[in-house]
Every structure is written in C-alpha cells, then in structure tokens.
Symmetry: C2
Subunit: 309 residues, 2 copies
Amino acid sequence: MILTVTLNTALDITYRVPSLRPHTSHRVTEVTERPGGKGVNVARVLAALGHEVTVTGFAGGATGRVVREKLAAAPGVVDALVPISGATRRTIAVVDERTGDTTQLNEPGPTVTPTEWSAFQEAYEDLLPSASAVALCGSLPPGVPVGAYAGLVRTARSFAVPVLLDTSGEPLRRGVAARPDVIKPNADELAELTGSYEPLRATQDARRRGAHTVVASLGPEGLLAATPEGHWRATPPTPVRGNPTGAGDAVVAGLLSGLVEHLPWPARLTRATALAAATVRAPVAGEFDRGAYEEFLVRVSVTSAASAA
Amino acid sequence: MILTVTLNTALDITYRVPSLRPHTSHRVTEVTERPGGKGVNVARVLAALGHEVTVTGFAGGATGRVVREKLAAAPGVVDALVPISGATRRTIAVVDERTGDTTQLNEPGPTVTPTEWSAFQEAYEDLLPSASAVALCGSLPPGVPVGAYAGLVRTARSFAVPVLLDTSGEPLRRGVAARPDVIKPNADELAELTGSYEPLRATQDARRRGAHTVVASLGPEGLLAATPEGHWRATPPTPVRGNPTGAGDAVVAGLLSGLVEHLPWPARLTRATALAAATVRAPVAGEFDRGAYEEFLVRVSVTSAASAA
C-alpha cells in the first residue's frame, strides 16, 4: 500500500451563501463536509486511481470522530490515524454564489503532546514495512517539533521506502536536508527554500540542498522536474479554468502512483499534470473529473528542460 | 422545573480573526463552542439564577452529540433532547478583532421527519406534568408543521402549565391564536404580527389576537408590557454598550423566573430588563455579567404606561 501522513488533518466544510457581506447574518444554503488535510486528499485521489492507500496522522475530539466516520465510508482508504486528546481542526470555505469566490476560515488545530507525538512515531514505524511509498504532507500542528519531517524522512529511508515531502517553510528546509526522494514545492515554497524565483535555478538549488528529485508545481504553467535522470517541463494543453483547490494534492498522488508503478519520469509528470488539470476542471473543489483526466492524459506536453547550471 | 423547548438547537461556534476580508484565507486565532438555540440560551440564564431547568427539542448527528456532551457539563441544566437522524445545525459567528463586528453564518438545520415530530410531542407531554412553566423558543426546523407552536401552546394549557412563546412570522401568528400566557416579540416581530410599529397600539392588538400578556423588547429602550393587570415600561438606567446577542433570551429567562416566583409584573420586568442589560454588557456574547445585573436591578425604572385605546 501507499502511506500518506497528515499530521494536521481537518474536517473540510464548504458553505454556499447567496452573497457574503461582512458584518451581516447569512443563511447557509448548502453544507458539505469531507475529511481533509493534504495527505488525506492525496489518499482519496490515489484510491480513485485504484491504489491501496493508508492514511495516518492525528485525529481527536468530535471533529476527529467525524473525520474517521467519513474515512470509513470512503472506498479504498484505510484509516490508521492516531488518537489524540485535542480536537481535529475544521476548515470552512465560504463560497459566494454570486461571484464564485471563496473565503477561507482555518482553525489552528490541536496541540499535540510529546506522548502523542511518540505514539505517532511508533505507529509510523509499524506501518512502513507494508508501504511501497510514503507521502509526508502539509503543515505541522502545534506541539510537533519543527524537525518532525526530517525525522520521518530518515525513518522512511532506513526502511528503504521512497518518501515524498510536500510542506513549506522551516519544516521543508529541515526535511530537505534529510534527503527525501521527492519534494513538490510550489513557486513560493521553492523561492522561500532557495531564495530564487527562477524555477530552473531554484529546482537545482533544492536538489543540492538534499532532495533527490524536485518537482515544482507552477500553477497554470504545469510542472518543472529536476531529477537525477534529467530535467522536464510538463504543461497542460490549454489554460484550464476552475478551482485550483487540491491541484497540488493531485500532483502528489500522480507522482506517487507513477513511482510505485515504476513509470519513467515523463509518464509520471504527464499523469500528475493531467490529474491537476482535471482537479481544476472538476465542479467540486478537490475532486478530479475522470473524463477530463483521460482527455488531458493524451494532451499534456512533456519537454526536456535545459539545465540552468 | 422550568421547561424550555428549542426545536432548532444549534452548536454556536465563535471564531476570532484579526480582520475579515472576503475572498481571502484566514487563520482563526480563537475558537469557542457552546450549545445554542434560543431555548438553550434561556435555560443557561435560568440555571445561573438558581432554577432547575430542563431543555427539550431535537439533537442529532455529530453536532448533536457535541451539544449533548456540553449540556451534560453545564451546571443545572437537564438534557431531555429527542434524538433525530439529521444533524443539528452549526452557527458560526466570525468576530473581526479590528472592528469588533460580527459576521454570522447559520446552517439551515436538519429536516425533522413526521415520526420524529410525533416522538417529540410525546416527550413534551411526559415532561409537562413536572414543569412549573414552559418556554417555546425560536424558529422551526424544516419538516416541523408551521402550526407546531399553536399545538404545543394548547397542550401546555391543557396541563395548566403557563406557557411563554418567543418566535416570529407565521409560527408566532398561529401560536398567538392558541392563547399563550406570554409572548415576547421584538419591535420587528410585533410589527409583522400586527402591522403596527407603534408599540403601545401593537402590544394591545397582539393581546386581542390571543396573547394574555405581551412583553415587547424594544432594544435600548427596554420593555413594554401589556398585561391583564396593566401596562408598564421598563427602561435601563443609561444606554448600555456592548453585544446585544442573547439579550432577548435573557428577557425570556427573567420573565419566566419571575412568573414561577409569582413576582408582581413590575418586579418581573425589572429583572428581565436588568438581565438583558447585563447580557449586553458582558464580554462573552450571550452570557450575563452578574455584577452588572445586580447593579442594574436597583437602577431599572418601571413606569405605568397609558393605554393606547
């Protein structure tokens, strides 16, 4: 199975309102809820692609119960979340039906105790022997040490399990130094890590800092990959209009599935780009449109990119 | 005990954000949750005044579980909520720390099935013999017939239990015709019922429609009561600055507690006005400030009001 780690899981709630006007009262016309956090989103896409996938991380409180109930009902995703005493956070996306714009309210998440963090590390070590690959995704909740991902990368490497790291800021900086197999920063995360907004230069710099492969997600411009086997750009056929929520998680799922299927890099990048575009295109945020995915698969262009060195 | 009925219970969530800006992402700095819905709020004030109080209505789903857990932890409030299959609604108050303003997002609430509505009516009849008074509070959830309060008023009267009705629109219009002991409309609700924004005229018209006593809550201007024993105005000493959330529920609690203690009307109105002012003054929305309450108790002025007839 593929293992995804989400230390800051969430219950993602979407409210539709006719028009959001601050300092007034709104009747919500539609409420949808689903388990969230980057690794959970990645798992959902992997399951939809036919992979066996296990999610771990933390869940607690009433919101954690809802997350687990909904995961139990999700086909193909195995719940290996570690219980904590704090309550799993909610995120609320308020969609303005008039403009289509979204206003996001994110709870800070529970504080994880040292005992809970130790319990997670044990659970992680128990899961790794069954894993064909592991993805470490998203922000760290309060209480988890900033070097957490660096430790989890090293543990995965000690079990010879390929590890993808998708985070930002100091946890990314430290995690990269632990030599993960893949990182997937967006342009801002990559610039924060390397100091450069020039993607070719920045991806190569990130490799020098420790990442074996760097796949930068550049929004509508697609992906730029710096790998030990070469550099590639993957671009969607036309600008894809829609909601970019979850496109980055779809890229991670595409890269991981291609990794465990031993696809060559251009095929992995094609899949990841097509999944991202089909996620932007889908009517529901974070889902991907399977018809669009299959259409994009044959229309993504992958070209060799020159080294900036 | 005093019985309060909240057919549309809620989990009231308050988010503090540094500044609410539509179509951007916000990190919530503080999350508070408490059981809500008007009758639940009334019960909390009654319990704080030392009364035994039982809450009934509906609770369901994960949010209903949280409401019940929190009620179990609330001193002096007995939970007699009736389980339903739908999920209890959430309300979210987003407080902008820069301006102090609140943006409200209210979920619509679950649909109550005919079987669940019947189960509630049975539970209500089982509770009435132990009740010294009953308050019927708030909006009706989908699935509950619009004449619901009229029926509940008649049932209370058949058990000779004094009944206060605090709702609006068509449920109020129908409820009034069933001859409740007290209604407590605000100026808008009273105008919708009677067609008049002239409070003295409107309260008397509402009495002619069936309410034995009408206590109109007029915001900063206090209360206007039209009773079989006379007409009174109760006014807070000075304009009270703060958050009016829950002031109406505090009025209901003041009136009910005065009723079961057989206080004369001026004393009931003094208590209700002081509680409302102390609720506006309190730092936490919907709570009342006990020191301010005791201070206001001796400073509220109650004067006889001339009849408009």
